[in-house]
């Protein structure tokens, strides 16, 4: 089975979809921050929750950078297992984050999505990077 014909563009598109949604949430996070505060909230409470969400989004972008580096440098582009894992994780993340925005979910749900769908592929990517660059194994 040729991985290039379908798996590579599919993985790329799900990565980009997740990335676009994370960038979108940067600008539209007000409703979500308000959803996790009590009805009468002070400005300091708002700022604290807002900062936590911004930190979460920033760390997500950092993990994206790791995964995109591994993908575009060729280390994991043709590795079918990592591609499937990344495809599934980012697909789940894109759908969940769409619900996060439209249904105005609370802040803690973002951390759940982050742990399942951003950390896992990035962690496997780091393992692959160490294996290829550090231990000099072949990228496939």
């Amino acid at each position: 089975m040729s991985a290039v014909s379908s798996l590579v563009p599919a993985r790329f598109l799900t990565l980009i979809a997740h990335l676009v949604i994370v960038i979108t949430i940067f600008w539209s996070r007000e409703n979500n921050v308000k959803a996790c505060l009590p009805l009468d909230f002070t400005q300091e409470q708002y700022d604290t929750e807002d900062k936590k969400l911004v930190v979460g989004l920033g760390v997500t972008l950092g993990l994206f950078a790791i995964e995109l580096t591994g993908f575009f440098s060729g280390v994991s582009m043709f590795n079918s297992s990592q591609s499937l894992l990344s495809l599934a994780a980012h697909c789940c993340a894109s759908v969940s984050l769409s619900f996060f925005v439209f249904e105005k979910w609370e802040c803690w749900t973002y951390w759940v999505i982050f742990a399942c769908c951003s950390v896992v592929p990035a962690f496997v990517e780091i393992l692959l990077l160490i294996a290829v660059v550090g231990l000099k194994k072949k990228p496939l």
Binding site: F12, L13, L19, V20, T24, W27
Partner: protein, 184 residues
Amino acid sequence: MELPETIRKRLDDFSRNILFDQSRIVTFTEENDGFLPHEKPVLSSLQLQMSLYFNMWFFPCWWISETVMLHLKYPALPEYYKFILVTILLLMTLIEAIRLYLGYAGNLQEKVPELAGFWLLTTLLQLPLILFQLFNEAILIQPLERGVHIVLIVFILIQAASGFAALRNMVRHTGSQFHLQQFD
């Protein structure tokens, strides 16, 4: 589908005389590069080809997002911006299709005129249009538009840089195929 011959000749002249001044560049000989005499170097650029390939897959997503967002914010725009944004969307669609085709043809078949056309369309047309879309707050930029425009502008910048390098290599290593007609 080929570019017309006159346009190809003009783009070839532009690349060899204006963009890269060959009178000051030492043209490489085969021995200097360390190649065997019968081996030709591969002039297609991998980075450019990769960015073109992924740009081609990303373009429908960009187009759908942009059209839906324009449709949603259309009633809230002033009259002149309605006209301008519809025009810009049409222009960017056409330019993107032509640009990606020329980039593929120029890079894979190592043709200088097509690659020069691709590079000019990218830097002189697509780049200002996407900068307008991204930085002009008066057109009510939505968060989703920011996301997809940021991805597209990264593609365009990578293609401008790697396209320039690929064009320079190709101009150095190939002779012009349009020779002067001396005696008619």
